[in-house]
Point group: C2
Chain length 306, copies 2
């Protein structure tokens, strides 16, 4: 069914729409904030919902903050969301790794200090975070390369890493040659939502390089993975028919919302445009069809109860 | 048809096989040399063929050397191959870019100094080669990012770059947002052939990241692209039915050889194993079927005329 433009509803229909949900699950980057700052009006709308007794859950694929830092940002921008209703991938990836890592094994991390902190909090041993560069004359010295490859690595965890380098890719791929070594990624978002003229490549671009060179398929904890969806449904006892999912990306946010049988709303304030929606709509692939939202609108502010 | 194991031929049949070719086109990395050094016996076999009057052509997807440096390496290892019979992707990518770049435009290069030299030799203006890193606190300062984005970039050229970094990916992807900006890559080999326990990611892993974040399909000059195949066929006036193509990779070397209607021989001294051949054989995809060699053997040395 073609997605419906929310502002085309009468104010009565709009109230009916909003009243049909007890729980609103929202993405963050591109919906409530962007690298440039908070999306205008987003805190007002979210706090209005909370005052009306709705449960608000934030779920982000961003792995550059710990859960604690994520909560601090939520507070800083004035969202009255409870810390137990926040899901982020640095925390999810650490949780999954702890649950699945063989004993006596350690983790090689291509990612942020936030992932390191979340692994530390769960007593999972790891290494790799921070700068790791190659000396100048790599190919001339490939025979005598002094690269330390450890023999007790049981997982390669990949998230956003601003220090991504050739030697980091080399190490990740070398560890992944062992088929028993887990390959766990936070998310595969291709870019960060930004309104600047600069395009910010996302974790997906880092994952793709390691995936291609290793020939391995990663396990993804973030949206649209069922890992985070199941965690959400179990822990929060969610009724899908009374839940709205808001996101700015079709193939992560909206797809996960649809897979969970939530009502889905795409906001055009982030990565995907209406032209993208039409591309997904006209694709014959099942996963593209699952990425088409039921509703769309320009900004989360359009949900404001006037 | 199932590939035939060359050593299973009688010595009479093997002579017949070798005599059926005037021209032998061979890949380099993984066939005649590896990062560790020359493949034992390779110069003897190649020079034997030259003495018998066969034309030998070397064609490599490697972009880390200029054509001149490539020739120096050929000489160093004792191959008596003429410089006009050498094809490499730093030179091919510069040639393609010169032919297709709009006037007054410049090139952003993610790649080696060799690509820079080949562009210089053709008077194509470029920038980007060498280190380019991010300052420490990227995400905290994303609003005030001081990244110089030029407005006259007409092509992004991507080859192997040991200094690949986040800021290089960001610049490439930002330039590629302009649909008129060419996206030209040397090759998409996933890894370099090596016998060390370290896996060396190839240009394909760098291309994949930029491809994912830009949503653009690159033009590839290296094998199995028809660009290099056409150059070869036109310049060298090759008779496909009298030509043998030797390579260590199914999806680049062998595929190109088959697309050119050459006889194809896979050597198992590089990237692909016989198990890989069987995977391609059993795949229903046309491009995988095109990647199955007609013959295979352990090393190029098996072609030695005793």
């Amino acid at each position: 069914m073609a997605p419906q433009y929310l502002p085309s509803l009468s104010s009565e229909k709009k109230s009916e729409f909003i009243n049909s949900f007890d729980t609103i699950v929202s993405d963050c980057d591109g919906v409530i904030w962007r690298p440039e700052g908070v999306v205008p009006g987003a805190p007002e709308v979210i706090n209005q919902f909370i005052e009306c007794g709705k449960r608000i859950i934030f779920i982000t694929n961003n792995s550059t903050k710990t859960r604690e830092q994520f909560y601090a940002k939520v507070l800083k921008y004035g969202f009255n969301v409870s810390p137990e209703n926040l899901y982020n991938t640095s925390s999810l990836v650490a949780q999954y790794t702890q649950q699945n890592l063989s004993s006596n094994k350690i983790v090689y991390v291509v990612g942020s200090p936030a992932i390191a902190s979340e692994l530390d909090a769960r007593n999972v041993k790891h290494f790799g975070v921070g700068k790791d560069e190659l000396y100048e004359d790599f190919f001339e010295n490939v025979n005598s390369l002094k690269i330390d490859i450890k023999d007790n690595v049981g997982a390669v965890v990949v998230g956003f890493d601003q220090h991504i380098s050739y030697v980091k890719m080399l190490k990740a791929v070398t560890y992944l040659r062992n088929e028993e070594c887990l390959f766990v990624c936070t998310n595969t978002d291709e870019v960060f939502p930004t309104q600047s003229k600069i395009v910010l490549p996302g974790t997906g671009s880092i994952v793709a390089g390691i995936q291609v060179a290793s020939g391995r398929e990663p396990f993804i904890v973030g949206k649209p993975s069922t890992y985070v969806a199941e965690a959400l449904k179990e822990e929060k006892n969610i009724k899908p028919e009374r839940t709205l999912f808001i996101g700015d990306r079709c193939n992560t946010d909206i797809r996960m919302g649809n897979l969970c049988s939530f009502t889905t709303l795409l906001v055009l304030s982030g990565v995907h445009t209406f032209a993208d929606v039409q591309k997904y709509e006209s694709s014959p692939k099942a996963e593209d069809q699952q990425s088409v939202p039921q509703y769309y609108t320009d900004s989360i502010f359009d949900l404001c109860i006037k």
